[in-house]
């Protein structure tokens, strides 16, 4: 019995020592809050967010009771509910929408390798995603610039070589 109590006491003291050490470390590494950080947390007014969606409250209520309706159905039945509403899906709590890739290939490469055709492919396959189309355009522009620079360098080199051979 005595042995068991001693063992328990030593384990408790060891735990206490560890706790104190981590507590001391935490105290050392504190970073003060700024007044704006505290204020931004306590004064977070959610009514601004609800009000932002007032224009689509009719659509919201309609879809709660008509669960199988799609965007195309509503376009035929009552398109007024879709005013300002995009037909593209957005995945909740993720950032995948802006990263949609045509056939899993980066849009920049599409534009770089296939030029204007690549841009059109990206535009159509990513459901008219502007961000990805822009990347494809950048790819197209980059490959064109590289092509022009390469052409100029080759022509200049060829001219220089030809001139040198003439003399």
């Amino acid at each position: 019995m005595k042995k068991f109590l001693f063992k328990s006491l030593s384990v408790s003291l060891a735990l206490l020592l560890l706790t104190m050490q981590s507590f001391a470390f935490n105290l050392k590494s504190t970073v003060d809050f700024t007044s704006t950080e505290i204020q931004a947390t306590t004064d977070f007014n959610d009514s601004e967010i609800y009000e932002a969606f007032a224009d689509i409250s009719t659509l919201d209520q309609y879809l709660q009771t008509n669960e199988d309706k799609t965007y195309s159905d509503l376009e035929l039945e009552d398109s007024s509910m879709l005013a300002g509403v995009s037909s593209t899906t957005t995945l909740p709590l993720s950032s995948s929408q802006s990263d949609e890739l045509a056939l899993g290939i980066p849009s920049f490469l599409w534009g770089c390798v296939f030029g204007i055709i690549g841009v059109v492919v990206v535009y159509l396959m990513t459901d008219e995603n502007k961000e990805q189309t822009k990347k494809a355009v950048y790819g197209c522009v980059a490959s064109t610039v590289v092509g022009i620079v390469f052409y100029v360098v080759v022509i200049a080199a060829a001219t220089t070589t030809a001139a040198a051979a003439t003399y």
């Binding site: 068991f4 935490n26 590494s29 504190t30 970073v31 003060d32 809050f33 950080e37 505290i38 931004a40 947390t41 306590t42 977070f44 959610d46 601004e48 967010i49 609800y50 932002a52 969606f53 224009d55 689509i56 659509l59 919201d60 879809l63 669960e67 199988d68 309706k69 799609t70 965007y71 195309s72 300002g84 509403v85 995009s86 037909s87 593209t88 899906t89 957005t90 995945l91 909740p92 709590l93 993720s94 950032s95 995948s96 929408q97 990263d99 949609e100 890739l101 045509a102 056939l103 899993g104 396959m125 990513t126």
Partner: protein
């Protein structure tokens, strides 16, 4: 006698931990409303499925179109009429999603306890406990400090700052329910700041089911099957 008390004590502790670990499946009807910076809206409705062991998030979308999205690792596969239509990149792996945090009961610290962020300070204000999480030294990422507040031990709000100390994202977690001992915020409000303009988002969960039996083909959706 002491041994019996010790055994009962450990059984009690293990019981708590087992209850948390036992939650492995999440299913809910989900609605996402977004107001973009240009004033246009996006409205998406459907069901979300997540199995902690399969590490896949499956969205069975009904509006605007009937589509299925399967998030695995850093990719999202899109299916329309049972045909794979595209593959998207997604930096947020399923095991770092809110569904994983909910099932692990890690949501109160926004999953930051298991990240490379460390606690910079803790303060009480009104009925909130506010924690400042600071990024690791030599952090070269876009993100700076993250301020997390809890109310009655439930995640209440998250403020995300960029490396320059500018507030870029605010989130409020509301309308908590408890299903099989798992705390779930059924409404998440977000404002993302892009300089002077803002993007708003509301995510709502309804009909939450924890540990649904069956329906394995949905929870462990085989992307190569179709």
């Amino acid at each position: 006698m002491y041994h019996t008390i010790l055994v009962l004590f450990f059984a009690f502790i293990c019981g708590f931990s087992a209850q948390a670990q036992d939650s492995f499946r999440f299913k809910a009807d989900i609605t996402t409303k977004i107001k973009n910076t240009d004033g246009t809206f996006q409205y998406t409705k459907g069901s979300a499925y997540y199995d902690r062991n399969a590490k896949k998030i499956i969205y069975n979308i009904t509006f605007p179109q009937k589509e299925i999205y399967v998030s695995i690792d850093t990719l999202v596969y899109k299916y329309v009429n049972n045909k794979q239509e595209s593959v998207m990149g997604n930096p947020l792996k399923p095991e770092f999603s809110i569904y994983h945090f909910i099932l692990n009961n890690d949501i109160s610290d926004f999953g930051l306890k298991k990240s490379s962020f460390s606690v910079g300070n803790v303060e009480k204000a009104d009925d909130l406990v506010i924690t400042k999480w600071i990024p690791p030294a030599g952090n070269n990422s876009f993100f700076g400090n993250i301020i997390v507040s809890t109310k009655s031990k439930r995640l209440n709000s998250v403020l995300i700052y960029n490396a320059e100390g500018v507030l870029v994202n605010r989130q409020i977690y509301k309308k908590y329910i408890s299903v099989k001992g798992v705390e779930i915020p059924t409404e998440i409000l977000t404002i993302t700041y892009f300089g002077e303009v803002k993007k708003y988002q509301i995510v709502e969960f309804r009909n939450v089911v924890i540990n649904e039996a069956g329906n394995d083909s949905m929870y462990n959706f085989n992307v190569s099957k179709i």
